[in-house]
Homo-oligomer: 332 residues x 6
């Protein structure tokens, strides 16, 4: 057992995870800094417990600029009644709260990317301390974990719910059943190539059922994308038996991202003109985007082409693109 | 005559506006600063002149985070052949070039909002010097002016082309004919309440035909919105007789913004959940958006409601909203 | 009449200054910027009107890091009942709201020092626009004006209320009576040498009764200093006849600052050790502070000495001092 | 023995700690950076050695915005004569010199909180390298260690000297005797709950006598608080037998902070109005402070109440408070 | 007479310009800001007066990153004895002191370029207030003005002294005589095309003899370039009759910059490889520099060629160049 | 074998190091951040392979503000023909590309000093990931390594090529032969005292022949210094047998830096006047530079003197110096 396992988390919760009823409170993480010697990061949390049943751990704001999850979860925290619950629901609408408050993907405090910070450290950066608290305190309480993502300010996605292809096929099967229940317009079977540091991996390695989403992006949410998230989370609670009522089943289209050829990177910076929109079918060799050099007029744009047949599933969102940015993702 | 009228602009063009053929060059504006004592702002410009006909002045990037205009104009500058032109086309794809390069609405140099900087000053800030060059050099060369706008990073719009309601009804009529020719999905008759400092006003006061657009927003462009811009600018050139070929007519829906009740402001900061999407019909009293306080869970969101019947024409784009932000615009 | 007088203020109030009763609202100032194209500065305002009587205009946060005024005024806005008022009370607890929100003396938007920005400009910076609104809209409504100040983060003061020595001796006399009524531990007769740009001057030139305060400093407020402010503002309302009840009279010590010899500047930077505290009596030639060079140990500190007999009325607050900072003020 | 123990510190001293007499010099720490490829951090140090006696290690500026210690120590370094010393005095007036020079709690270079950086690392950040030098070079030289603290810019304290409750009761007893000798108005018996990374702990684990202080705060020092520090350090030297002369005994009030109920945190941000001042007695349930929301007038403030009887020993200093900040500490 | 002429300068001098002897002091300019409510900019000044003779006004640091002038003047201020002076010498080694302290061309406070800020304003920015003080207080005291310049961080120059071609040929002739006396390796006859806002122009319009220099650059000074400055300033004082002793005559090569073809601008950004060094002869059409695109290897560099025969007199200094930067100046 | 050795590098090359011919591509390092969720750092690389022979690994931009290396290598990458090569040449003109693009010594992303980051970490900061890629992928491919350095923005050097004194005298001898072949005006035998973290050490420990340079500085390159670099790299390729043709032999002067007395540090900040220039002979006790305090005129400058006879080999470049900066290096 490592040193850090022995050291307690500096985070304290103002809610009691074992108490029956609905509580709104905080995960309080002491954070001493120039503008507050004895300050803290305050992460809102709601826990709703009633009767007997599994624990569902719900999170948004793993990346701070993704909004469908926080909308669905701030709404759920306010509207879900304890008497309608069988088991326990733990809701953290903005997991990387400093990033969420700053409207940025990573934490403004330490530039920490929460989804590359697991298992975290109790004596690390603020982001690592939050990860450690999820790793050692919240994940062990959970049976099912739903972590909301969207594209953030710099990517846009077709709306999908996803689970990973896993070695434990029983665990994998349950995951895909939850994805099906979520009922997003698209569903994804993900094969993670580099899973180090991810919250997903941390949960899966504990044997939890873990599902996630990409529900749009650009640093906004629409009425339509928020509705997908709100319906999805209720469907998950119903499928888990924690909420009562019938699942609102929706047709979904399953997608695969077979290998690295899905990804199209730009080797040049410039102004991006997309030739296709999200959901459009593309053929191998089709122009996906043209990148105009902006230093002068009259120059020939760089053409980015698809390396496979499929549909445009994700794209770079901002109008300008930098060298090395992923311009597009094609899924099948 | 004021002092500044007598002082020449510090901007020099590396193109000759009177030469026949197609030229790509720069508007060079000396800009001495800490990291370049004898530096300059270089604004790309293309001028294409041939035969006899009017001058059309085309601009994008008046606000630096709006992309449909720059895409259409970098493309046009590269592809429009002098032999296909009758008259003159002056293309400035990124009018506030420092803002465009920084991906911001206003100039990173002086925070200048180009569209509130007219008539500019030859001895003012960088933004004011650019405005002054348009005011005293480029606008006098033009007969028709098309200035592209979109919502930028913080607003999203239904795609429309627009012209102003003017005292000179002949001028106004020609403007609306150009709007009709542009062929955006929506068209707008705008009554500007506070027109001080606008490029629009500067052009209109010289008697120029002036049209503008809002073609989307969020700091991006889609294949669809870029196509509207590209088709629109060609239609304008054809309608002006500067380009040959048949106008690609498209059905358009005319909109009005009658008064200040169109605008819905949020008095609180929070997480914005929109209840309707762009283009949706709304009734007076309908909830347009809910603003969740994000400091803790369990709080009641503020409801923003429409003050009139209409359709949702513009909305705040980022997931979080600040007190005082315009949340939505309803047009009729 | 100048141009700008003809141009209306861009500020709009969400309260009706002529309506009877108590209203809480905003002065909304449109402020287009990179992070909100159609954003606004929202300055909280309360207006309470009832019966017949004069109008008292109360403001805090003229400088954003001074807290006794905002505390007294947020409290008053919440607790003063319309039925207890005869006349009108207009309360702006944080006049330079952007500075107040940023905890800084000047506006983070334009570095504007509100008290050097009068009469303001409707087409100027954000700070100038707020000043213009006070100049042309709020001051004309008022009979008596109380503007709270303290030392802010970089100065500390003995608590006093003050009015200016004026050419109009009738106006001056009324001012000093209000100072006496305010009932701070100290009271000051101020002779302003450079009054250009001050809110004080703007009000006095319109013939208003104007009083101000310095109630402590260091960017904080104590229970004691907040109580002085709260009692003082109620005493002012009572003396004006706008609030009922008996004035809570307190003994006060009158002070004068006769000339520039009151001020002691440091010509060197260093660590400041004060030899006397606020309220201590000093003699001409006494050491007021020693300034230690901090680059190495063993150096002789610079001694700052009083140029007159008196009491230490204000001092530089931070532990380090910069060359050119005012270290101390001696009053008589 | 760990790797880093084997690696020498990069810090070199320009003084000889074994030489007799008084020397003023530097701890020089190489620090390569963009604005100086071969630059260094220079930490002023004075060493005074004479005759036979113990070594007293004196430090201020562990946190860079606390001033009583640096004032007392810059003064002492200049005025203490070698001939008046029996033993050795090592004076580092500004331990975290980069933080001291920047007027911030933590280092502007690496945001390092010196008092959470022990034992440090010779190959770590600048702050960790300084800690390592104290850990491996200076602390081993010392018998008695006095480390000055105050509240810094964001806290204010009753002036006290303190030592820790320790397992070694002999060591503990000597510590409290030094606290008594220091002669601050208040004296504290501290039970450190989370002592990881502290300089205190590093010294105590080596068996050194360690005392510390909190002598005020707010990022300033008064004549009164500086006098406490100056008298205290001389009393400590006399009690240690290093300086001659009689200890200036002062009455002191002993305080205890029994458990976490001493601390009152604010769960909301706002404007803080304290109802009591430092040193005031409070009862369990008393309102300590009211936190006003500042987004609009007319809102009800949050009331923060004491969880125990005691006296107000520390408080949040700035006028505004953030969610999660410690608002007050009650000691008994 | 304009308004601002009537308003006194806020700057006060701690020296008496009419007193005999040598005085070191400050020009103190009140500057209220967030980190010092009652702070000041302190500009060191030395005045040395003795006997009868003209007044020579000497300045360096007009641009804050140019060092030969400040070195010569800090040295002169310290070493010139009053008894060796006939007349008066006013020395301001760092005219734009905030820029000098920040090692930047322009002021860090307001980005003011001192040499484009004349005649200044007493109610303007800090830079404008300094300009106004020179305009209305110091220049009127002077007969001869020497203002030191070098290339600063972004330009490098052959070392020359210069005066302007003027309408008043008598004034012009005296200027060139002083340039000859200065004795730099090169001497320049300058024809200023855009003289608006320059200190030079302000002085010349008052009929003063005005000379200036460019003595190197890159943000440094060498032993050689500092020696040129030190010898030059003494030669000027001797030529003016203010200092005694024989002028150290040096051979000098006169240069002319006839028109805009002297200047070579880069239209692209990249890595600059110069083909010639300062002082090298070039022919029209010679490659002066190659600009490599740095985004990828294997690209063809842009070649910048001379538009005339001459010698390389100035060049862009940093290794990278931006679009619009002046790359080189060729003089004849 | 440690954990990190087992983890693959996240860097992928778009070139094939084993393919014959000349390829221009990138080392792509995924870098997720706020402004690009799926972004990358793109480091240009050229590999030229032909026939049989050793592999020479060439790098510039180890520090981002040193330009002779990048100039020589961007030029070489473009002009060296595969048919002229026997063996393999790997060219990375800007090793720490983010630093190079930002014109800074260290990385703007993580402040990483590349030459103190070896052996790097595949899960570390961006700079550590680049170091790890050189450590585990590129260095193993190489036989001879040439890493270009210059003084950067804050130091200036006599131009020399250098190799280290090594325990393996065979390896050392080959290194000095390559230094001799390089043919810089000066050559240096370096004894590294603290070699931890250096690229040099990493290469030498693998038994590679490693040579480096210092070719000037100040953040620029001259025609002369660039020519030294271009000739030197071709000479190295020729000496290695990878390029054909005769080595352009140049006379060189060998230098030694025997111990720490070579280095002269400034204990005070101020304006630096050098008394000698690079290449000048100095005697022990000679004044090398005078440091003027800049806070006021009339102060005595600090004199920095040589501790040995020798020649001035390096100096602090900027006009101002900070306490702790290395002012000069004397070599023999």
């Amino acid at each position: 057992m490592s040193d850090k396992d022995l050291r307690p988390s500096p985070v304290s919760a103002t809610v009691d995870f074992d108490a029956v009823g609905s509580q709104h409170g905080f995960l309080r993480l002491p954070y001493s800094r120039d503008d507050s010697a004895w300050g803290s990061v305050m992460i809102p949390v709601t826990v709703i417990k009633n009767g007997t049943g599994p624990t569902v751990l719900l999170s948004g704001g793993n990346h701070g600029d993704e909004y469908e999850g926080p909308i669905a979860l701030f709404d759920l925290a306010r509207t879900l009644k304890a008497e309608d619950v069988k088991g326990r629901v733990i809701i953290v609408p903005a997991m990387n709260y400093p990033a969420f408050a700053a409207e940025t993907r990573t934490s403004p405090i330490d530039k920490g990317n929460m989804n590359r910070s697991f298992p975290g450290r109790p004596d690390g950066t603020v982001t690592q301390k939050i990860a450690d608290y999820f790793q050692r305190t919240l994940l062990p309480l959970a049976d099912i974990v739903l972590d909301f993502h969207s594209g953030g300010k710099t990517l846009d996605f077709l709306p999908f719910c996803a689970a990973h292809i896993l070695l434990d096929k029983e665990q994998e099967k349950k995951g895909f059943e939850f994805v099906e229940a979520f009922g997003a317009p698209y569903s994804m079977r993900m094969l993670e190539i580099d899973a180090v540091g991810m919250y997903d991996t941390a949960a899966e390695e504990m044997g939890k059922i873990f599902i996630t989403t990409e529900l749009g992006g650009g640093g906004t949410a629409t009425a339509r994308s928020a509705a997908i998230a709100k319906r999805g989370v209720m469907n998950v609670l119903k499928h888990a038996g924690v909420a009562t009522g019938k699942i609102e089943r929706q047709p979904t289209q399953w997608l695969d991202m077979p290998d690295g050829d899905c990804f199209i990177f730009s080797e040049s910076a410039g102004l991006a003109e997309f030739a296709v929109d999200l959901g459009d079918a593309v053929k191998k060799g089709d122009v996906i985007a043209r990148i105009y050099p902006v230093g002068r007029t009259g120059e020939t744009p760089l053409e980015l082409r698809s390396k496979m047949d499929g549909i445009l599933t994700a794209r770079h969102f901002p109008g300008l693109i930098k060298a090395g940015d992923c311009a597009a993702v094609i899924a099948q």
